[in-house]
Symmetry: C2
Subunit: 324 residues, 2 copies
């Protein structure tokens, strides 16, 4: 099969169809999403080599006799060792020996097929179209903010960054009843928050300070600078961004105002699927481009353009059945 493969350079490469190990299933990919982290992989993040991509919705195609056969699924991206203390506590995503789909030691989803353990699968409700279900993973990541900074404690929350993740975070927070402010670059991105009642600002127009919670989802060091400037004493900054490079942290900026800086990564798939199935979150306005896998290189180039929201790779030409 042809897959989008990175080994220092990026190419559509002929690779063998994956053979599911014991406890795994073979999944035929229907739609896949490009994430900012994929672009970081191209810069050397995790030194990953293999088939790229971790956001997908697909249909189980094997092995024969699997109870999952034919079901439409999304999948969690971390595959732990299953034995260590962290795995036994349900924290496989932090297993030191873990594989991560398309990011660490496991081939990803920019391909016609992938394999994944059954334990990672979540069935997609029938009424949920592919092009919403493909957002399950980033929506779950947005929902992780609710655990990192429980919103009950916060009357006003600022989200920094109007990319797909920042927008999803602002929507999820709005659904808790919080007063949510979003600061970003692009008027057309900010306008997508209108149905959720989020109050938006272009950079430079944000005058408010003393936010009890600030979520940094800008993907750039300037976002953390802004977050630490605007959080109130004893407030919380939730850090969602990973990027190459380092932020020059002044320790007094945390110690004197007793601010907490909380790293936050993956989140709960079942909650994300419920919000999508209920249509309380409709992520489809985030889709900027859809291309077939054969145009995977162009898709990457498009995703690299500043201000591009979600780029999807569509593998459904060869897939029977409907959806999305």
């Amino acid at each position: 099969m042809k897959a989008l493969y990175f080994d220092g350079s990026l190419a559509l490469k002929d690779v063998p169809r994956p053979k599911p190990a014991s406890g795994e299933v073979l999944i035929q990919v229907r739609l896949a999403g490009l994430c900012r982290t994929d672009l970081e992989v191209l810069k050397g993040y995790h030194h990953f080599q293999g088939i790229m991509g971790h956001e997908f919705v697909g249909q189980v195609a094997g092995p024969p006799g699997s109870p999952w056969l034919g079901r439409r699924v999304v999948g969690e991206i971390n595959v732990g060792c299953g034995h260590c203390a962290l795995c036994r506590q349900g924290l496989a995503r932090h297993c030191l020996e873990r594989q991560v789909l398309g990011l660490k030691d496991r081939n990803g989803v920019f391909a016609p097929y992938l394999s994944l353990p059954e334990a990672n699968l979540h069935p997609v409700p029938p009424q949920l179209p592919d092009d919403a279900a493909v957002f399950t993973e980033p929506l779950a990541a947005a929902l992780a903010v609710l655990e990192a900074a429980p919103p009950a404690a916060a009357s006003r929350i600022l989200v920094v960054g109007d990319g797909p993740l920042g927008l999803l975070v602002s929507w999820v927070l709005a659904l808790t009843g919080a007063e949510v402010h979003l600061v970003g670059h692009y008027a057309d991105h900010l306008s997508l928050t209108q149905p959720y009642g989020v109050i938006t600002f272009k950079e430079g127009d944000l005058k408010d300070r003393n936010y009890e919670v600030v979520v940094e989802a800008s993907g750039a060091p300037g976002g953390l600078e802004l977050a630490l400037d605007r959080v109130r004493p004893r407030g919380t900054v939730v850090l969602k961004s990973t990027y190459a490079g380092r932020y020059p942290l002044d320790p007094a900026a945390l110690v004197v105002p007793e601010v907490r800086l909380v790293g936050c990564r993956c989140g709960p798939f079942p909650q994300a699927l419920r919000l999508l199935a209920q249509r309380w979150i409709d992520p489809r306005p985030l889709i900027a481009h859809r291309l077939p896998l054969s145009q995977g290189l162009e898709a990457i180039t498009q995703a690299q353009q500043p201000g591009t929201l979600k780029v999807l790779l569509d593998m459904r030409e060869k897939v029977e059945g409907g959806g999305g």
Copy 2:
């Protein structure tokens, strides 16, 4: 009166005796402690100018008719505006208009007398000697760690740094029943934790990882590097150190393992006084040198020597009565 005064250069300077404002008392200083932050002031921290010092025990000497007159006291160091939302929430230490004793817009304690609002005072129990009571402020700062990272959640805690603050933090944590490890430089400092059952390591000998909580009290950027290396996924790093300079933070080091970095500064005086009065904490082994105020410049020089624990300034030549 002669006071240790900093205005870009440090000198024993003749200054007028303070006149307490309404709601304030005049306090005759008995003992004062030198803190690492005082040494940072000499490097330009907060651009402070005035009488230095914020750790003290003293005796109220005015105004006449004050219910506090003659009482031995310690005092909280932050003086808020009293009107803003933070002050009304009991968070005067985060008031944006606050003064801080010997650190920001208010003369400190390296002097025969200081003035302080009555609201900042705590009476010293009679059985508590001066040279233990003078540690109330740093012990309260150590106790603040219990709020920043509630120890019930943590089975093993690492403290980084064997200066006075690191040692006090390790003792306070040991009193919660936690398994406390301390990593530091100086064998004679580490040995002071023996009565508290703390397990100590010289740097280079610390093999353990996956601490649920790490407290960074080393006062140097290398301490945070070590803390982030040794904390477990989803663990907490409590940051106590302030220092000139910046730490080059890799955001992925927080985001991927979902680590929280919690700034932590001042703490509760009543709890500190109780631990001292019960002798559950005896800080006196931390005293390295005692000098009269007239030798204040020598005291600073001694405190600047690497590996020096607490240096005290003794103003009791002129003070009637006993203690310590």
